[in-house]
Structure formats: C-alpha cells, structure tokens
Symmetry: C2
Subunit: 294 residues, 2 copies
C-alpha cells in the first residue's frame, strides 16, 4: 500500500522536477541534454517527497515549494554525476543506465554536474518572485546553500574520498553518514518546514528528526548490503565487504546496527508525533524509509 | 598611477575575500585547504573590484557588498579549477603555480571546485542577515545564480569545450565571449548596482555597459596574444595561433579588432558618464581594462 502511494507520488514529483529543467534548444544544448539525462534517470525522489510532505505537515499549500523540490533533486543528481566520475568512484553504470561521463564524455559530465548545482540555486531563486513571505524564502535559500556544502554533503564526500581504502574511525564514519547522506535529507525537511512558516523551535525539531532519518536510512543501506535480497534491491549485495569498505555494520555488527536503526526510527516517529500536525503519510514514509527492504 | 591604485585595491579585496574562506580545522580540512589554495593564487580581483566600484557609483556604503564580492571571486575561482582539469584544458600551471589537481589530486580538485561554487551561495546568503533591504539582496542573489549558469558562464564554457579543434562560427564565438567571459563581469556590475538600490532602468544600463566591457576585455586578450609583450603579460604570446584557436582576431583581423575594442570602450565610458554618479576610478578602471597592455 505504502509502496504504491510512494510510487504514485514519485511520478507526480518527476513532473514537477522535469518542468523546471531548462529547454535544450540553444548553443548550450548539450549541457542541457546531459542535465536532463541524469535527472530523468529516476530514483525514489525521496528528498523532494520529504520536503513536500513536511511542508504539508505544517499546513503549506502554495506553489512556492515546487522550485525548492526541483532544486534539491538537482543537487542530489549533480552529486551523483560527479561521484561517478573516473577520478572518484569510476562507475560506468547507475541504476542500470550508463553514467553521464560514459554517454557525454568526462568534460561534459563535469560541466553538467556544475550546471545542475548552479541551476538548483537559479531554480530556487524563482521562489522569490512568487509573492510568498520573502523572509521564509530567504531562510530556505540559506539552508539550501548550507547543507549541500563543505559543512554538509561535500564535507562527507571529501572524507569518504580521502579514506577510501583506509580504516575509517567511528567518528569519521559518523561524520560521513551525517553529512554525505544526512545533510540533504535535513535540508529537505527543514526547507519544507520553513516555507510553511514553522517557527524556529519546530524547524529545530524537524532538523533533529531528519538527522535521525538520514542516519537510520544509511545504516539500513549497510544492513541491506549484508542481508538484503539482491533481486529486490536491483543491485548486488555484499559489495561493501568485497570493496573492503568500513560501514556501520562492519564496526558495530549486524545486531547493534539493527537495534540502533530501531532506536532512531522510534525516536523519529515519536518526535514527529510530538510536533503534531496532520500528515499520516509522512510518518509512514519515514518508517518505510528506515525499515525498507529495497 | 591607475596601475598602483588597482594593485592597492586588489590587496584590500584579497583581505575581504579571504576573510570569507572557511576555517580548515575539521574533518573536511583538505577541501578547505584546496579552496584557499586556489583563491589565494591571486589574480587581478577584477570582478569584486568592478562590483564594489559600481556599488559606490550608486552611493552604496554598507558591508552588504562584501559577501557578494567574496562570492563572485569564489565562482570565478571554481571555474578556473574545473577548467584546468585533465578532462578539460589539462593545465598543470596557472600564473606560475601548480593547479589544484596537480597539488591535491583530481578527485579533490573536482570537489574543491564544487565546494567553491556551493560556498559562494552560502557566503552570499550571509547578506540576508545584515539588516539591509531584503528585496535588493534577493535580486542580487538571483543575478548571482543566473549569470554563472547555463545561460551564462557555463553555457559559454560548454560551447568552448565542444568546439575545441573545430571551426567556431562568428555567432558561436560571440556566444562564448558574451558568456564565458562576459557573464561574470555583468553579474559583478549588476549586483553592485542592485545592492546600492539602483532602479531597474539603471541596472539595465549597467548590464549593457558590463556586456561591452566583457566583450572588449576578451577581444583585447586576443589582441595581446598576437601583439602583446610576453614579459609584461607574464605568459607566452601567440598561444592562440599555436593551438589553432579561432579568436576574434583570427576571424576579423587585427585592425577591425582594435577598431571594435575602441568602439566598445568609448560607448561604455559614454554610457557610464550618462548614468551620472561620482566614481572617476570606475571610469578609469574600465578604460584600463579594455586598453591594457597586460
């Protein structure tokens, strides 16, 4: 049931995100095509979904959320394009599709990533012209600029890259999870709350919930890599072990990892209930995300 | 005289830009060091200089310009780091200094470029908290997001990369010049005008002036490559010819190029005078930029 609902919402979100992509009809055609190629490659659209559902939780009803939904997905996509580059993970396939540098060449993939990051801000700026509370839009913009950056996603990515093939400490691993995975989930939910006019205390509460969700989401990823069904996952399992990768599971063991995911999950749901508001789907989405089998 | 004044102003601008760089003291230390390495590599600081002087022309007097000055230089620097990468221009040296990927490796150079682009927006967002007119800051943010992007700098860069080794048409060459070089100069001057509270007509006038300045600046670069003094320039001349590069000079000839630079220069200065205001240095800076011998 929840799977079907998530899939339906993802289709609607695809339309929103794609409606903000630039037309590929000028001298810059190739980069626009490369941007669209990667954005349209699919994915769960979790970040814009969490953003929109948090926005609704706080009673948000306007279109102002849409450019931010598109922007967060563009930032997520740029990070995947650059992550897949030969100098980084050197992945030729993602979700069964050739990666950007395989299709467009390395130079264009670098530029397409740059272009998506930049265009995310250009897209979010459209929200300034929508007649909504300009202070809320400005606050949302600040979160959109901060969380993907050096004290957020890029910070986590840097440590991940530097420590490839080395022993990550517990603290470093936590830093990578909090930032590489967690930061964009935090940005998504915080922006939803901010744009709906939530006060500072509520935004802080959402921040904490999102942080738990991000951490649990990533640890569940590690658990699935060990215990998941590769047919359901659509990718091979045991890849972390094969790559000699330090994960939460290799450090803390499978039982402790499961226990911690449950703890984070219960806390996130409890705090979501404490916030109040009316969005049963968001609660179910959070539970699904954390306890998913794919 | 003007040379000395420009050099003095550049020193002050260096301090401003560097004051906005992040501290390199956390797990993300390496990327912060890589960001600083490239920002501190020097350069004329023309973009923040043009921004600040245009801000003064319209009577701007507050600190709000500073985060934007830092941001535009970060964006310029990121574009150089990515431009120098092996997959793009493959340059090991810039201004006599090893480029980012040579010092930090290719993966970190890609991330440092991403980080600078992202941090530019994070830095500019600090202007929202400075108590100035929030509508002006939002407008400035929109220009900062638009001009470096696919319909600006990246667009020009894409065509430049795609056409390497091929015959550029006149229209393509103009597109590259307008965007790869011109767009950030336009952003700089427009943001200065917007933050100082200039009205729409004045911002449009500044846009046009900046477009002329950018075009003349780039054509002068081509002229210097043919006729300049390599000792003054600090780089070898005739590199365009050697690389079989199509430039304004190779298409239109040296006499027409000089004539056009003079036309653009005279028009820019005349329009700057028509705007009024009081900034003799900005006028001299524009003349120097366009007619420079280095």
């Amino acid at each position: 049931m929840i799977d079907k609902l998530i899939a339906e919402k993802a289709v609607r979100i695809n339309d929103i995100v794609e409606s903000y992509l630039p037309p590929a009809d000028g001298f810059n055609r190739t980069v626009c095509e490369a941007m669209a190629y990667s954005v349209e490659a699919g994915g769960k659209r979790l970040r814009p979904m969490l953003m929109e559902e948090t926005y609704r939780l706080f009673g948000g009803k306007s279109e102002v959320i849409k450019p931010f939904m598109a922007a967060i997905e563009m930032i997520h996509t740029y990070s995947l394009i650059h992550d897949d580059l030969p100098a980084l993970d050197n992945d030729d396939y993602r979700r069964g599709r050739k990666t950007s540098h395989v299709v467009f060449g390395e130079a264009m993939a670098i530029l397409a990533g740059d272009a998506l990051l930049n265009y995310a801000y250009e897209t979010a700026c459209k929200a300034f012209g929508m007649g909504e509370d300009i202070h809320a839009v400005a606050s949302a913009m600040c979160v959109l600029a901060q969380k993907p950056g050096i004290n957020g996603m890029i910070g986590g990515q840097v440590v991940d890259v530097e420590m490839t093939g080395k022993e990550l400490s517990k603290e470093q691993l936590e830093y990578v999870y909090e930032n590489k995975t967690g930061a964009l989930i935090e940005a998504s939910m915080m922006i939803g709350a901010i744009l709906a006019g939530a006060d500072e205390a509520k935004v802080a509460a959402v921040h904490k919930i999102a942080s738990d969700v991000g951490m649990a989401f990533q640890i569940q990823d590690d658990i699935l890599d060990v215990c998941g069904d590769s047919a359901l996952l659509g990718k091979p399992t045991l890849s972390d072990e094969e790559n000699g990768k330090v994960t939460y599971v290799t450090i803390h063991g499978i039982d402790e990892s499961r226990r911690y995911v449950t703890e984070l999950s219960e806390r996130a749901v409890r705090e979501l209930e404490e916030i109040g508001g009316d969005n049963e789907f968001l609660k179910e989405l959070v539970i699904w995300l954390i306890n998913r089998d794919k």
